[in-house]
Symmetry: C2
Subunit: 151 residues, 2 copies
């Protein structure tokens, strides 16, 4: 829920309302979705006026790809996980954001996607803090340096 601008970046207020701040990674803000039914992270590249993946510069897309991997690895560390769902939709909130969701067979939406399935269940305050602490303290592999895609 950190609201500072970075080169004109401001988190969409609907994303801010539905999430808790976890960390600022080199490209993206890492958010925890406020829905205790699913271990659910959201990456928001801290660049202004983006809505589609291919509006990011090549090197930033590669960085985003690495941050998606890192988010996948974090989720696997903090929660049991049968499948990871990735999505970049943006029909309601246009600001480019990537969902990274740990799914379990038999979870509250299984095997459907999580979006629009039932009402979100808020975290109890201590559970939210514990989850955020876990996420911040997983030893993540260092990100590789961004390289241009060539050409």
């Amino acid at each position: 829920m950190s609201g500072h601008a970075e080169s004109g970046f401001e988190l969409d207020p609907r994303l801010a309302a539905d999430t808790a701040f976890v960390a600022d990674w080199p490209l993206s803000r890492l958010l925890l979705m406020e829905d205790a039914r699913f271990p659910w992270l959201i990456l928001v590249p801290r660049r202004p006026r983006l809505s589609e993946l291919d509006e990011l510069r090549d090197a930033e897309q590669m960085l985003l790809l690495q941050e998606i991997h890192r988010a996948m690895a974090l989720l696997r560390h903090v929660a049991p996980c049968d499948k990871i769902n990735l999505g970049a939709l943006g029909n309601v909130v246009r600001q480019l954001h990537v969902h990274v969701v740990a799914r379990r067979v038999g979870d509250a939406a299984w095997p459907e996607p999580v979006w629009g399935k039932g009402a979100a269940v808020s975290y109890a305050a201590d559970m939210r803090e514990r989850r955020i602490d876990q996420l911040r303290n997983v030893p993540a592999p260092p990100l590789k340096p961004p390289l241009p895609m060539g050409g």
Copy 2:
């Protein structure tokens, strides 16, 4: 619906049943989803036994990223489009596949995701062929050579 194996790759039969073959790109098989309600492409990396994005080698992930861009560009050429939805779910069909869907404000599922929303509407045969021809004949920018991500 081409079924030839490539280094052990075989298209999941459920994906084959729900789609029409469009093309084999350097990494992925490009499929048209058999649902005339949405211009909807699916990319399936032609590698065996993949279910998660981070199981692809780095260079192949970059190639997939470029092929996602190319699919986005194709959709924008052949159909009006307000937003592109990207998703890699795999809860039902585990074989790694990426959905690239052109959305319009007011379309049959707007603003919800397309997955699991109502029944698919088959293309009339001539419309399917016309759409596939369009997709095959859009002058696409050449793919850039894959480079390792560094590190």
